[in-house]
């Protein structure tokens, strides 16, 4: 160990492979050089980096010392963790996850109770200023008692953990934008990490849940460059959230041709036509599902015949019904239309009566015009 890991200045490549580095761990676990390089190449392409960067990624990852990661789970359903741990068990992506020093994650860690909390406190202290903070779940602000861990409110724990973090990765739509707890009427006053923490770099990795390879990809970027990847206007890495589902959807040609499934079991659905009419939110959803896919690259929701619900977008739960086409009004306009028309008929008749009485008055005050009246 010649140098301390400095996640912030991008000098990781100077560190030689040593005990505790990622390269060492990978070799110990029998991952071949070939498959490691393949992972690096995949990572580079996913992040839209030039091929010339692959060796740098490899070198950086090999030499990266396992950084301390503290994972806090607030108002969440553990779906993000499920997604991450289950989907890619035997791949390099999961190994990378094995290869960080996950010092606190109350679902995955062996320790419990005071021991678990102690692990967090120790990790925070030992790696102060350097650890990565990963958060899933939203934070309730209405009443701190709505969600606590070891008697500590989510808000307090986040504030405390954020202080010593090099950066924060908000995982899942709850942590990034409030998610389902934030959905109307938001009974707990749930907010996102970004709503609370203003002075730390935050990477938003939304999705309900996010794609595992996206989480590891972000992590790889962070380990390679020691900096945040390029983010879009709502804090998402552009490499993964740069294009809409719609633009990369393999069913797009059907949309362009105007061929739509009208129901889930009609001829169009069987032929794999576009699901726009069934409420697909692909056109307004930015995520990598259509390219990286899920379950080890097997498929993604649209490929399985279900419209995109837009889970990686803020307020996706409140964006009208999942099965209501994007171009449809979210509320019942027909009803509005009827009431408005009925009210207007009454108003219109009133106006009409006023007009007529005005005209009648002008007829009444009219005095028959004679020759005398033609000149001033």
């Amino acid at each position: 160990m010649t140098k301390d890991l400095n996640l912030k200045n991008g000098s990781l490549t100077e560190i030689s492979p040593e005990k505790g580095t990622l390269g060492e761990t990978l070799r110990k676990q029998g991952v071949s050089r070939r498959s490691f390089m393949k992972f690096c190449a995949t990572t580079a392409s996913m992040m839209a980096l030039p091929p010339a960067m692959i060796p740098s990624i490899a070198k950086a990852l090999e030499n990266a010392r396992r950084p301390s990661v503290i994972w806090l789970s607030f108002q969440e359903c553990t779906g993000c963790t499920e997604s991450l741990t289950r989907a890619h068990t035997s791949t390099v992506e999961s190994l990378i996850f094995d290869s960080i020093s996950l010092d606190y994650h109350h679902t995955l860690q062996a320790a419990a109770g005071h021991g678990a909390e102690l692990a967090r406190e120790v990790a925070m202290e030992e790696n102060y200023g350097n650890y990565l903070l990963v958060v899933d779940g939203s934070i309730p602000l209405d009443n701190p008692g709505y969600s606590t861990i070891a008697g500590i409110s989510n808000l307090d724990m986040l504030n405390e953990a954020a202080k010593g973090a090099a950066a924060i990765i908000a995982v899942g739509t709850c942590a990034t934008y409030g998610g389902i707890p934030h959905a109307n009427p938001n009974p707990t006053g749930a907010v996102s990490v970004k709503d609370i923490i203003k002075d730390k770099p935050i990477i938003n990795v939304p999705g309900c849940p996010p794609i595992p390879v996206v989480i590891t990809g972000v992590l790889a970027h962070f380990l390679t460059f020691g900096s945040l990847p390029e983010l879009d206007h709502i804090g998402r890495p552009k490499a993964f959230y740069g294009q809409s589902i719609h633009d990369r959807c393999y069913r797009r040609p059907f949309y362009d041709k105007g061929q739509f499934a009208e129901t889930f079991d009609d001829e169009g659905a069987k032929k794999g036509w576009c699901l726009f009419k069934l409420g697909c939110k692909g056109p307004t959803t930015y995520n990598a599902c259509a390219t990286t896919k899920w379950n080890n690259g097997t498929s993604f929701p649209i490929e399985s015949g279900h419209p995109c619900i837009g889970c990686s977008e803020p307020d996706f739960w409140d964006g009208g019904g999942f099965y209501k086409a994007l171009s449809m009004p979210t509320d019942n306009l027909t009803q509005t239309l009827k009431y408005a028309a009925a009210g207007a008929v009454a108003a219109g008749v009133t106006v009409g009566v006023m007009n007529r009485s005005k005209k009648n008055t002008s007829n009444k005050i009219h005095v028959k015009t004679t020759l005398e009246d033609l000149e001033k």
Partner: protein, 219 residues
């Protein structure tokens, strides 16, 4: 406000407000016209008011030959703009879904490329309409603030729709939200401007045809 929130607002409350103003405004305006009433014609008729009125609603669509020669730019640009605008408005699949949701009726859509082509034609024609309005001696004389405002508010849904369709400049939710908001503004000003001609031209043509037809002239 995030862009998705903006889009949700545009699809929800924004659309509600716009629809209420539009529907109520149009109904009030039409009643305001019809309830003024018109005296029955006491002269002996030479033709039918009703059938001639109905016929003029249709025939007035075709310009008189001499008038066409004298005002071909105005007539061609006007027709191209109107027809090309109706194609995306009524035959773009997402728009049909909108109508289906509101009025419960739907019809077949046209492929995206066709809709796109007509949108481009309509945009070009609208620019021609504006140039004509500003250069034609008569139109320039008649043009007032409302004419220019109405042009702009009609142009905006077209151009924002085009941008949303091609995702130019902003993200899809923003583009969609802007497109919807531009439509909502159009709907709100609709009943109180010359945009009302969309509905009242049927009344006007009917009256014209009825007045002439009563005297035995096909107008």
């Amino acid at each position: 406000m995030t862009e998705i929130e903006l889009l949700s607002w545009a699809r929800g409350p924004g659309l509600q407000i716009a629809t209420i103003v539009f529907v109520a405004g149009v109904v009030i305006r039409i009643l305001e016209i019809l309830l003024l009433g018109r005296k029955a014609n006491l002269a002996e008729a030479k033709g039918s008011e009703m059938s001639n009125g109905l016929r003029t609603i249709v025939t007035r669509t075709i310009p008189d030959k001499t008038t066409f020669k004298r005002s071909s730019v105005t007539i061609v640009s006007g027709y191209v703009f109107h027809i090309a605008m109706f194609i995306p408005l009524f035959f773009f699949a997402p728009h049909i879904l909108f109508f289906k949701d509101v009025i419960g009726v739907s019809w077949p859509s046209l492929p995206g490329a066709v809709v796109d082509a007509f949108a481009v034609i309509s945009i070009i024609a609208m620019i021609a309409v504006l140039i004509n309005r500003l250069t034609n001696r008569v139109m320039r004389y008649l043009t007032n603030f409302e004419d220019l405002l109405v042009w702009l508010l009609t142009f905006l849904p077209l151009i924002t729709g085009y941008f949303a369709f091609h995702r130019i400049g902003l993200t899809a939710p923003s583009l969609l939200a802007i497109h919807l908001l531009s439509v909502e503004v159009l709907l709100i000003v609709f009943p109180f401007t010359k945009l009302m001609h969309t509905f009242t031209l049927f009344l006007a043509r009917w009256y014209n045809g009825a007045i002439s037809g009563y005297r035995g002239v096909a107008s």
